[in-house]
């Protein structure tokens, strides 16, 4: 099996995050592999392992798109157990919206699939920076593949995949044929930590750098030029400040109701 897992290098949400410069892109200092992509990687590794792992020809390929630093997301994926990595990087990609991102990633996936076609593309449920969840569905549309989003479980049986999805008022089982694009939630598994062996092994795994020319994309189709949306202004919200803090002296419930009444919230 050939599984591609999309991994994004995103600003660590534990720190203050900033939009800056032309086009209000996110500041990518202090970036990490998006936590939500670790679930997709774990899902890919488990599917490969259940089929005899890399010895049996199962590949779990980590693909990241982004500036130089984004290669770190690929490196961490290799440490966790991915067999090979690709890093699509090009100055022209800066400021790509979801549509442009999906165009570039679709081209990279087709490129990686030359020769041996890709069976499955796995992604996290959303990036932790843009948070739009648009890319998996847009990728599926561009590649002409079925999409299964927000999978909380995933099984493969030959060429068919079965997944469970949970919505507010119902939960459902869905089936699709491979190849397909699947995004997974944080309910699907518990991602592993890279161990010492994995970290050492990762040093010997290959990471291929791809440019737009390599994957046959014209620079005008991506980046700010190729995006179909543009941010015209961004304002930082004043951070919330602490209000009144009281210690319960037996009447805090009543004081709470007084507060709600004063705020006209009853």
């Amino acid at each position: 099996m050939k599984i591609i897992v999309l991994v994004k290098h995103v600003p660590d949400a534990q720190f203050d995050r900033h939009l800056n410069g032309e086009g209000y892109t996110t500041d990518r200092d202090e970036s990490i592999l998006s936590e939500l992509d670790e679930y997709a990687l774990e899902a890919g590794l488990q599917l490969a392992e259940a089929r005899g792992g890399s010895k049996a020809g199962n590949q779990v390929i980590a693909l990241s798109m982004g500036p130089a630093g984004a290669v770190n997301a690929v490196k961490k994926s290799l440490q966790m157990g991915a067999t090979e990595g690709f890093h699509l990087t090009d100055d022209a990609l800066a400021g790509s919206d979801a549509a442009a991102t999906s165009l570039a990633l679709a081209a990279a996936i087709r490129h990686i699939g030359t020769g041996a076609p890709v069976d499955l593309v796995l992604t996290g449920m959303a990036s932790t920076d843009g948070e739009t969840s648009l890319v998996p569905a847009q990728l599926a549309e561009r590649l002409g593949l079925p999409q299964v989003t927000f999978a909380s479980s995933l099984e493969l049986d030959g060429g068919r995949l079965t997944a469970r999805r949970d919505a507010d008022t119902y939960s459902e089982t869905v089936e699709a044929s491979l190849p397909a694009v699947v995004s997974v939630t944080d309910q699907i598994n518990e991602p592993r930590y890279p161990n010492f062996k994995g970290i050492i092994a990762a040093k010997r795994k290959s990471i291929t750098t791809l440019s737009l020319a390599d994957v046959g994309v014209d620079p005008s189709q991506v980046g700010r030029a190729g995006s179909w949306t543009t941010v015209t202004s961004a304002e930082e919200r004043p951070p919330r400040t602490a209000g009144t803090i009281i210690t319960d002296e037996g009447d805090a419930g009543i004081k709470l109701v007084d507060f709600l009444a004063a705020q006209k919230l009853l």
């Binding site: 999906s102 569905a137 561009r142 119902y170 543009t230 941010v231 803090i245 319960d248 009853l266």
Partner: protein, 317 residues
């Protein structure tokens, strides 16, 4: 006048408030037409007329509900073309966003999600990075696709009612061939409480509840509120996963968010920090939730919540 197409999925007997909000917003941007999926009952038909809808498009195929979003997006793309619409509005549910995503590629149209307001010139407003920025953005393509969050528009019928035309739209067959099929669907039992994403008040509980959501539910019911939870509480199985508020759960922006027995980890804050007023009850004065609470109580939730519930009942008489 520019046409604005609103997608409405399986309304049942009456339109949801969020659908009425979309129709109201649409009217402020141009002539409103609807692309409907599912049955058109007479109550809904009357509401369309009341809200000034000039045409209702319906799919040629009745079984779009048996698939994940691809055929719905393909149908909608055909409806947008048939109507010549310049703007498409959808609700901001996960499914609404996915349909918007695929629709955007089909039409070569920019998509903006999580929209809280749209100006007459099409500028869309939203908040990003877990509520730390508000941005204005625009779609640069001829058609704009926007998914709009609930509770940001007051529903208002049109000044004069309309008589909508009925139009059938062919659903492209290829979109069904490559779609994932839904093979089983289990309804969850309704709680009778307001829907978490659009509730005016949310009372949320965390690990501090120690398995007993009673105090949170009773306070929620006294306030007419929805019940939310931290991931620790949903992971422990004390309450269903759809109650989770936060980065991988729901984003809520209520008038009032009461957080009880929740520490306030960054992933939890991400889902609630745009609430107008935040109240926190926690035993531990060092909990990060107190950094953002408008009113914080250092105390045991098992004392504070029941006392507040009794007091509210007393005052409401």
């Amino acid at each position: 006048m520019a046409k604005v197409l609103v997608f409405i999925d399986n309304p049942g007997d009456a339109l949801k408030k969020s659908s009425l909000e979309l129709l109201t917003l649409a009217r402020s941007l141009g002539e409103t037409v609807v692309a409907l999926n599912g049955d058109l009952n007479s109550g809904v038909s009357d509401e369309f007329a009341e809200y000034g809808v000039t045409a209702v498009y319906r799919p040629s195929s009745q079984d779009l509900d048996n698939y994940l979003v691809a055929p719905k997006a393909a149908y909608l793309a055909a409806a947008v073309e048939a109507a010549g619409a310049g703007t498409v509005l959808l609700d901001n549910s996960p499914e609404g966003k996915e349909i918007a995503a695929r629709l955007g590629i089909r039409l070569g149209a920019g998509v903006i999600t999580d929209v809280v307001g749209v100006d007459a010139d099409g500028t869309a407003h939203k908040s990003v990075l877990a509520g730390s920025y508000t941005t204005a953005s625009r779609v640069t393509t001829p058609v704009a696709v926007l998914t709009v969050k609930a509770n940001n528009v007051t529903p208002e019928p049109a000044a004069s009612p309309s008589t909508p035309d009925a139009v059938t739209v062919e659903v492209p067959g290829d979109s069904i061939a490559t779609a994932a099929r839904i093979t089983d669907r289990q309804q969850k039992t309704a709680t009778g409480r307001p829907d978490l994403t659009d509730a005016r008040i949310v009372v949320a509980g965390g690990r501090g509840l120690d398995g007993d959501f009673g105090p949170v539910e009773q306070l929620a019911d006294a306030l007419g509120a929805a019940v939310g939870a931290s991931r620790a509480a949903t992971d422990a199985g004390w309450i269903s996963h759809d109650a989770q508020v936060g980065q991988t759960g729901k984003t809520v922006s209520p008038q009032l968010y009461i957080s009880a027995g929740i520490s306030g980890a960054i992933q939890q804050k991400a889902g609630m920090q745009t609430a107008k007023v935040i109240v926190a009850v926690n035993k531990d004065a060092e909990s990060p939730v107190f950094e953002i609470a408008d009113f914080g109580i250092i105390g045991d939730l098992f004392d504070v919540l029941p006392q507040a519930t009794e007091e509210i009942k007393k005052r409401k008489g």
